[in-house]
């Protein structure tokens, strides 16, 4: 067992880990931050996406030890300081961008990193960027719409009706 320290959602944290402990396991089991999900064992579903030093990372592909000293943001860190939903979160609610909610942490965290790189993505760019995020409720239409809306773009043409 070794000790690891990092900053998660602005708070300094540390814990005992095994060498093989994954970042996602440390977040969920070590810190009780269960907003980050595990949907696969081949790093393909994207339910576990968090930000490490500002980059979107699949937390199931990284050892906790490798996040020593890093700044980590999870879904729990995406709300506004007053606790209200952040822009992307609010857009997901507004546009029904989640059903069962299991893929949602990864969708929101991927969306945040996309919008950082590309503040006004086209619909095609969003769909392309979400290549690594699976939603079996298959609510992609509204996920894409929510991300468009969060970027301040008009989504009226995406109305399903």
């Amino acid at each position: 067992m070794t000790n690891v320290s990092m900053t998660v959602n602005g708070k300094a944290v540390s814990g005992e880990i095994e060498g093989r402990t994954l970042l996602v396991t440390f977040l969920r089991e070590g810190l009780g931050l269960t907003g980050t999900h595990v949907g696969c064992d081949t790093s393909q579903c994207g339910a576990c996406v968090v930000h490490v030093n500002g980059e979107a990372v699949k937390a199931c592909t990284m050892f906790a030890a490798d996040a020593e000293g890093a700044e980590v943001t999870t879904l729990e860190g995406m709300a506004n300081p007053d606790g209200s939903l952040g822009t992307i979160q609010a857009a997901f609610q507004e546009h029904h961008g989640l059903q069962c909610g299991f893929c949602t942490p990864g969708m929101v965290m991927s969306a945040a990193s996309l919008l950082k790189e590309n503040p006004k993505p086209s619909e095609a760019e969003i769909r392309d960027y979400l290549e690594g995020n699976l939603c079996r409720c298959t609510g992609y239409h509204n996920i894409v719409k929510a991300i468009m809306a969060a970027s301040g773009q008009d989504v009226s043409s995406m109305a399903a009706e």
């Binding site: 095994e18 093989r20 969920r28 089991e29 009780g32 931050l33 269960t34 907003g35 980050t36 999900h37 595990v38 949907g39 696969c40 064992d41 081949t42 393909q44 579903c45 339910a47 999870t74 879904l75 729990e76 995406m78 709300a79 939903l85 979160q89 997901f92 609610q93 507004e94 029904h96 989640l98 059903q99 069962c100 909610g101 299991f102 893929c103 949602t104 942490p105 929101v108 095609a124 969003i126 769909r127 392309d128 979400l130 290549e131 995020n133 699976l134 939603c135 079996r136 409720c137 298959t138 609510g139 992609y140 239409h141 509204n142 996920i143 894409v144 399903a160 009706e161």
Partner: protein, 788 residues
Amino acid sequence: MPKDNGIGASPKRREDVRFLTGRGKYTDDIQLANTSYACFARSDVANGVIKSIDTSAAEAMPGVLAVFTGEDFVEVGGNPAGWAISSRDGTPMHEPKRPVLAHGKVRHVGDAYAAVVAETPEQARDAAEAIEIDIEEQPAVIDMAAALSGSTFVHDEIGTNQCFDWGWIEDNREATDEAIKNAPHVTTLELINNRVVPNAMEPRASIGDYDPGTDEYKLYTTSQNPHLTRLLISAFVLGIPENKLTVVAPDVGGGFGSKIYHYGEEALVLAAAKKLARPVKWTASRSEAFLTDAHGRDHVTKIELACDKEGNFIAFRTETLANVGAYLSNFSTATPTFLHGTLMAGTYTVPNVYVNVKTVFTNTAPVDAYRGAGRPEATYSIERVIDKCADELGIDKIEIRRKNFIQPDQYPYTTPVGLSYDIGNYDALMDTLERRLDVAGFEARRAESAANGKLRGIGINSYIEACGIAPSNLVGQLGSRVGLYDAATVRVNATGNISVMVGAHSHGQGHETVFPQVVAEMLGIDEASIDIVHGDSSKIPFGMGTYGSRSLAVCGSAVVRATEKIINKGKKIAAHMLEASDADIELVDGQFTVAGTDKSVGFGDVALKAYIPHEFPLEDIEPGLEETAFYDPANFTYPSGAYGCEVEVDPETGKVDILKFVACDDFGNVVNPMIVEGQVQGGLGQGIGQAMLEVGTYDADGQLTNGSYMDYAMPRADDMPQMVVDHSNGTACTHNPLGVKGCGEAGAIGSPPTVVNAVVNALRSAGHDVTHIDMPLTPSRVWAAMNG
């Protein structure tokens, strides 16, 4: 102006806040003190006799608390099938025992034969790998036709791989055969409805807990129906008294059918928790999910359509082999029969219909209901053979359907396969589809595509489903071993806010938002003061859960009935308070009012009075304001729809692009349009996944060759076409109080034939003599169809 409260409004989903902030509570998120962890040892061969299992090395490993094998469960019961189906000759189906852990034999890759419980998940996994098993391997039974003629059996004790040979309706058989023999035209089509792996994003998980002080058990589990799971465990598997077992299905990350069923892992964690007097937790890996969740579809079908030269239908005859896998999952015998055969008249007036289904045991994962469950298979067969028939006769695809549609003045319409459709309007749906897909402009768009070197095709489909599952009297006659009502308790608290305890379970459907809309509408109060309680068998009445597009039609009806009782009692209390007769009291906008006067008392004051019953006429009215209703539907509901899409095929590569998909559905009345749209989009996505990408494939040795997301093609954001969802043609269901029909499965039912019809149409437009391509329509299959 759109409403912002009650029925017809689209309020934002209240459950979203916790999911969006990471405060959802899925089973794996629950961490009880002193938890231990289970890991299962699973067979890597498909069929074999267990010679010996040596657990001694595993038992000696660090952190190991207990090791279980099939031997530990020989005394307990098996996981049963929920429907008893008889063969055509009257013999009952074969129903081999499905044990908690494999005993004597392993029957599919992934079949669990042992389990380790240890202090940590890693220790459990390490120890599970140290279990030694000696298996005498037998040839795997995989192909269904070969399974029926071969001499290797999945269950040796029954001496056949056929579970049953079912005819529906057997009395129709001769007349149908005769009609087909004499028909001016018969179209025959053989097709495969591909096996899909459900893949809810949340893998299954279970936590067993036991309190030696009270002898009470608690199971947290990823279930669509906690009461059903409790009943199965209590009455059939472990024999734990029902009143000593609580089953909690907390937030559940999607089910699509796969989480209806009770699985052996749930029984194991309960038994282990008792033995160790500690909580025992198990969470499936995705690999385990691929191997052990009940898969869907997997039919091989020959369908014949007989008609006259003008395309008027005379008969449908279907022969289907339906895979049930290695063991009978809970609904596996109903899915290919009563959810499939009964729908084989579609939306059409066809006098003769006969369906034969043989269910086959194979050394593969169990197969059961997956979004749509039987109804997609029926729709696919019917709608594909109609297209082929239209091509043979040179009749327009829309015209041939319209010609045979059941007409609005024919309801209630009894089909030759035992259902009575209450209402619908298929021409109206087709009219809307023609308009929204701009069918008239198709040829111009086809020319444009051709100019770009692409083949454009159009696909049309008309589906019907039987939802609102199900009238208990009817399904009881058909072999169901359970009732399929649902239940709700409306508890008005003293301070006037309301808890509604429902038997339905929400795992993406938004019940926490929708059910309050119904109650708010009826009581005339703000829906924000109404909360839903679901998922905990100790808190909710005995309801049957969520599947078969039943939540609103069945449980929602129970909510209505219970709320009506609240209103009636509230009127009595108000009458007492207002010194009037209860017959004169009406409830308007949350006020109990003496009709024709300005005397009234608010809903909240009545609630308070119910709990502070001073000067109460106790001989007439009991204190309290809480009512329960069980609702058993009088009939199925019959959502229907006209679907259409346009595709472009690249003739060089066989790659298919779906350009636009239009879904026009009749769901009856709609309570929350936003959620209905989301449900349809999701269903379309899954159906398009089945049509274009997905197939679970076993090789001859019984290995699932695509058991991970590296190999199994899941639909992704860029696989989804532009979607138009229209539900403007609702004809209100005639027999439930909300007039609703259910919307969860429609998209998955209606989309596969639409897509395949469009691709075949595209290829034929370029002169390829293609009549059918089996799903999924991968580029290589489409290319082969053009060049084969």
